[in-house]
Symmetry: C2
Subunit: 368 residues, 2 copies
Amino acid sequence: MTTNRSRPAGRPATIPDVAREAGVSRSTASRALADYGSVSPDARERVRAAAEKLGYRPNLLARSMITGRTHTLGAIVADIQNPFFAGVTRGITDAARAAGYQVLLANTDEDVAAERAAVKMLRDKHVDGLIVAPAATTETGHLAAAHAAGCPVVLLDRQAPGLPADSVTVDNHGAAQDAVRRLLAAGHRRIALVSLLGSAPPADTGAERAAAATPLPTDPVSTGLERIEGYRAALREAGLSDTDTYLRTGTFHREDPADLTADLLALPEPPTAVFATDSMIALGVLSAARDHGLRVPDDLSLVTFDDTDWARAVRPRVSVVAQPVQELGARAVHSLITRIEGATRPPEHTVLDTEYIDRESIAPPPGA
Amino acid sequence: MTTNRSRPAGRPATIPDVAREAGVSRSTASRALADYGSVSPDARERVRAAAEKLGYRPNLLARSMITGRTHTLGAIVADIQNPFFAGVTRGITDAARAAGYQVLLANTDEDVAAERAAVKMLRDKHVDGLIVAPAATTETGHLAAAHAAGCPVVLLDRQAPGLPADSVTVDNHGAAQDAVRRLLAAGHRRIALVSLLGSAPPADTGAERAAAATPLPTDPVSTGLERIEGYRAALREAGLSDTDTYLRTGTFHREDPADLTADLLALPEPPTAVFATDSMIALGVLSAARDHGLRVPDDLSLVTFDDTDWARAVRPRVSVVAQPVQELGARAVHSLITRIEGATRPPEHTVLDTEYIDRESIAPPPGA
């Protein structure tokens, strides 16, 4: 065994190369590199130094066949341009790093086909498990398949009822109901909800159009639906039986929240307050209010889901339902790692609290 | 050869399994699955159907040894919570998808150690190349090593002078100079710059502290430095020789832009205008202005790099230097794919134009 036999230029170093360089057997080098079985500290150090000198890159696929793990998590978010998901992503990355895992991210832009492709790619890259904010509630066969094949899935932010997976969400219904109660308490009765909540447009039937002010998308995400139900519940408990007159929903990339708001403001009896279901919706509401020459909160009150940097910095500062974004990401990571390590308990649904932060965007209705 | 011999339950399907199911030879199945060489349309279709029936997942590592490609790009961004990088990420993902590539994302949170770990992870996952917004300008050995080992690197947003890689940036110097000229044209003379531009704090020597109002971080990112030089150039051409009195820089995660701005506003002769080097800085400036009871633009004018949704929605709407975020991402993808496909030309530095968008956040200085 020599330590100076050179390998052909350009060929990547292999375990035999490292073993030769370190002066140990192939099986010792293999055990030291994969970090399993018995290896003396001295041999381990020589192998480490040899691997570094030769620029050896482990064949992680082979290693994962030994250890069964790659210590890599896949995270699939629905829209990285939404500050909510950017914050959650940060929470996932921080918690994973602390637990010794790396994160591979994919962005679906609320598109189920892109989500399906991302799941395939991440499984091909041998991630140990997946954290997914699903783009659709019912089209989840690819997630069920991954889960059943031993690649555990944890749902984040959104539920998918047919999928027997852990989930980490907030109490969307309760938080929405609470936010709308704040508007009611300020004296508002004409309270609108604006939301985007699915990527498939509603079936365009005359019957449906007649039945609701705005038909729901065919496969809406659960988060949006729960916020709508919380909104309706708050209106009903205030004695307002007509809960859909000021309800405007659209599908991602098809409707603009500013346009939905403009429609509302053009009504003969326009709303005096708006509940926005996320911060990007809230920006649309603010734009539409500006375009109509309305001041917030004097002419139009606003409360929105999601606390963003801008909500604190602008004037008036915007009252929000703050979600624990870091904690959502961290809990999802912990659930997933427990599953990867073999937990077989039934699916757990973790529901975190939100916090209402009162600022300056709610006032009594004009003329009150 | 039988078509109904079953494999052990739970074992993943292999190429021999697919070949048996399809009734073709292993080498035909292998060629059909890897999409190379000569295979009859009929055999190709039978192999495809068999692979789908058996749930065959290609061993992409093995496949990549044949084709030399995984059609996966790695993208390493410095701070996914910055809307600039969220937008660029969207541009990367869209352009990659159009070119038949998938994207694996990693976020470094402006930390060089995290960047090093991300490069290692993505190379272990056999990406064909890397798009990187480097967290540091000089600590780039891991990028040089990847590049030299045949994993091409394209720099995005930021330069790294020692690295012979393609880069895609904007004209930061020119755009900053133009933005500051707008403030000068409105009559301002006390114009501040606020920036965060590195993860390493400055060496704390008395000499350095005495020499500048604010010492620069030890390894600042190029983008910030170029914007500072553009700022200084604009002041000098207006006859203002003292270009550092109102210059405040800090390091990521150590300094808060609102605190840097508060320091400026507490000066005996405070600035009447601020140039913020990105949208997150601008939010800090707005917060500090609020806390000092100053109105924008009446008491304090503001111009910032980066056009965000909130800059258009708030009142006053904020005047910005808009970067072509989608185009930056797309150009980086195209440069990288050209390299992956074997281009050997010298490094190319693509510099895209920015656009100044005049809104409502610049007014004459108070009392003017």
